[in-house]
């Protein structure tokens, strides 16, 4: 087994041991999917998707950028890093869709295609989450 994987498993075991157990003897929750930027928790993923859902209806660039950066951006990077370990097509779709939205936000105003670009990012995010075994909430109707 490659030294890298051995080292990672050993360190993860040390972390789990150092932080203690559940105390009641039960097994702990299964580890969240993880990549080079760390684990993706279901909660963080859900919040990132909810942020994108709200982004679809954004009308002002500054507010849209704040919503994207504060609620979704970092977690999308973490999701992509975890996804590329398992499904590079899904990771590529996510990263390409994310870059389109970032390019939209870099302009002076939101372009007409912004809502559809965000919806594409939502679809790509769902695809990536499915690839790593996580579900994403539906956007409010």
């Amino acid at each position: 087994m490659p030294r890298l994987i051995v080292a990672t498993l050993l360190a993860s075991a040390l972390v789990a041991a150092a932080c203690g157990s559940n105390g009641d003897g039960s097994d702990g929750p299964s580890a969240p999917p993880s990549g080079a930027l760390g684990p993706v928790t279901a909660e963080a993923a859900a919040e990132a998707v909810r942020g994108l859902c709200d982004l679809v209806s954004a009308t002002g660039r500054a507010g849209a950028e704040a919503t994207f950066l504060d609620r979704s951006h970092e977690t999308l990077h973490v999701i992509a890093a975890a996804t590329e370990e398992r499904n590079r097509d899904a990771a590529a779709d996510l990263l390409e869709a994310k870059q389109r939205v970032e390019a939209d936000l870099a302009g002076a105003d939101l372009p007409p295609d912004f809502p559809s670009d965000v919806e594409a990012l939502i679809r790509a995010t769902r695809g990536a989450l499915e690839a790593i075994g996580l579900e994403a909430p539906a956007c409010p109707a």
Binding site: A18, G35, L37, E74, H77, L95, R100
Partner: protein, 325 residues
């Protein structure tokens, strides 16, 4: 090109950072946390550290709720942990430094002391300069900061220091790389990953020269290795734009080159551009982005990882003589 894993170094750092950061909420001797009970965590934002040379060390600080520690300065002290074969306990004290806030390009910087910011308000890292490590192995970086709204905070992370740099370093000869250009027989997205979305390379001025040609003609070169689309870091997109801007302002001082990391990100296994692999692929892994300034004599003048201060790069460019046409 074989499948490329993420840098072994960065994975080890993530693991060790988890060890360093784990269980801090139970630590009986934490610095006072703010009214929300948030704890600041630290993570390395620089890489390829090596023995014997002064270098930049960058660290990011953030809370679990996504807010970042921004602005001002923090104190960093380094302690030697030993090697996997010979750990040192207790850690041995090493250098100490003041780390200054380094904003992500295009984001705010303020003269105030460290404070918490939402990512939309400010984002960046803290950079200590001229840090010299005297031994190879693992080191712990202990950060202390007086954070507005939180008070005194402490956070730690770990880094690996190599005996020699893995990547081309200042004082070394640049590699004569035949990177892709607009004239290459390659898909546009292999020249710049943004062509995937934009159908054409968005910054053609960064794709006119190969590093090899610049070296052969004795021209200084500022070279950024990055993947604006397929980057899984927070730093890639803006830094390529910074180099594009510098290219328009200093075209008489150097040639400016962007080397895209991926030839084909989607392929199984994924395919790295040979030019990027020449400079960054080591033992099956790599980190990016990187910026290298190469002198007219082909020697690397300086290099920067992840983020850099534009005024530092500008100062370096302005020391170069104006090129003949």
């Amino acid at each position: 090109m074989d499948a490329v894993a993420r840098s072994r170094l960065s994975v080890v750092l993530v693991v060790f950072s988890a060890l360093a950061a784990a269980c801090t909420s139970g630590d009986p001797d934490p610095s006072p946390s703010g009214p929300t009970g948030d704890v600041v965590s630290a993570g390395m934002a620089s890489s390829d550290h090596y023995v014997g040379a002064p270098q930049r060390v960058a660290i990011g600080l953030q809370l679990g709720d996504g807010r970042l520690v921004t602005f001002g300065t923090v104190d960093v002290s380094f302690s030697y942990l030993g090697t996997a074969e010979a750990p040192v306990d207790p850690p041995e004290r090493g250098p100490a430094a003041v780390a200054v806030y380094l904003p992500t390009p295009g984001t705010a910087d303020e003269a105030s002391g460290p404070t918490l910011s939402l990512p939309s308000e400010a984002r960046g890292v803290y950079e200590a300069e001229d840090v010299t490590f005297d031994r190879a192995g693992f080191w712990q970086a202990d950060v202390t900061a007086d954070v507005g709204g939180l008070g005194a905070q402490r956070a730690s992370t770990t880094l690996e220091v190599l005996e020699d740099p893995a990547y081309p370093a200042p004082g070394e000869a640049a590699i004569e790389t035949e990177n892709l250009t607009l004239d290459s027989d390659a898909p546009p997205e292999a020249v710049d990953s943004r062509a995937t979305n934009e159908s054409e390379v968005p910054d053609p001025e960064l794709h006119e020269w190969t590093i090899a040609r610049a070296l052969q003609e004795g021209r200084p070169a500022l070279v950024v290795f990055s993947t604006p689309v397929y980057c899984v870091s927070k730093f890639c997109g803006p830094v390529t734009d910074v180099v594009q801007d510098l290219a328009t302002r200093y075209e008489d001082r150097a040639v400016f080159i962007h080397v895209e990391i991926w030839r084909d990100y989607n392929d199984d296994p994924p395919v790295m551009n040979q030019g990027a692999a020449d400079w960054l692929l080591r033992n099956g892994g790599f980190t990016e982005p990187w910026l290298f300034l190469i002198g007219a004599d082909g020697t690397i003048v300086d290099r920067w990882a992840n983020l850099w201060r534009e005024d530092e790069v500008v100062a370096a460019l302005e020391t170069l003589p104006r090129m003949k046409a």
